[in-house]
């Protein structure tokens, strides 16, 4: 990764932490990052980075999720670990069926649903619990954290 790519990573991490969860177009996100880096002429380059797998992998290593939905919009999710108490609270309170259990982003119902049903350890659906596919590992981590401390 080049230095510029590292700066993009830093800015995307900052945006994710500031917003918690963000859904926008890749162009808008690239413009935010470009303006923060004082490089408005490099929007197209940043936009290409957003679609590259190395950037997503590097972001994942920083506990930030970046993925695209079927609607073409980019989702940026802050997946930083939380305290055990916060983990227990989040597991205890279930949002509605149109909301991702982990990132709490509300998605429209469509023929190509953005959210997948959550499966428990027995492989059975958890009633009313839905997640982005990209959010599932982070959610499982959170659930295990909450359960482990309770045991």
């Amino acid at each position: 990764m080049t230095t510029f790519a590292d700066e993009i990573l830093d800015q995307l991490q900052a945006v994710a932490i500031a917003h918690g969860t963000l859904r926008t177009s890749d162009k808008a996100l690239a413009e935010v990052v470009a303006n923060a880096l004082d490089a408005p002429e490099r929007v197209a380059e940043i936009r290409r980075h957003l679609h590259s797998m190395p950037l997503r992998t590097a972001l994942h290593a920083r506990d930030v999720l970046l993925f695209f939905g079927f609607d073409g919009l980019v989702r940026l999710v802050d997946a930083q670990p939380v305290s055990d108490k916060a983990a227990r609270l989040r597991v205890a309170h279930q949002p509605g069926p149109d909301t991702c259990r982990f990132c709490l982003m509300t998605e429209k119902r469509s023929l190509q649903p953005e959210l997948m049903p959550e499966l428990d350890d027995r492989g059975q659906r958890v009633p009313g619990s839905f997640l982005h596919e990209a959010c599932m590992p982070a959610w499982n981590r959170l659930r295990q954290q909450a359960t482990r401390k309770q045991a």
Binding site: E7, D10, Q11, Q13, A14, I17, A36, A61, R62, D63, Q80, P81, V82, S83, D84, D121, R122, R141, R143, Q144, Q145, T147, R148, Q150, A151
Partner: protein, 154 residues
Amino acid sequence: MAKTETAAAHDETPIREVRPLPATSVAIAEARRVTHHLVLPAGMTLDDLQLPEIWINLASKLHRHDLIEVTDEAGSMWALMLVREVGPEHARIEPLLGRELAPLYESIDDLPLHHRVHYLGPKRRWGVLHDKRIIKHGFTTKTDAANWAKAVIT
């Protein structure tokens, strides 16, 4: 003469006949027994599973020599158990293997007193603060900062 006596004594030793195994004695294990997967409910321990009456609702699904893999919801242990006996309202099982599994992710709790981990922006990233004073910054992740604080600060 002596040689004849030895031979006679040898003949009196009972001979254990070892026959070849019959062809029907071997089968594919998966066709003979089932491996069940059990997620231990919260609050239960492996020792509880050895109480015969605890299997009353599952006895009809078990057969002798079935295997049971046991985990818990937190994924903190794994065990393998053998069904020794099954009755209409009970089952006796015996643990074969088992081990505790270390957590995959370290907790960010239990930081030293008056210390906390805070995000300081894209330049300084994650930092460790004592009250409001920054002790160290530049950590890529929150976990890195918390681990540093727990390891270095006493």
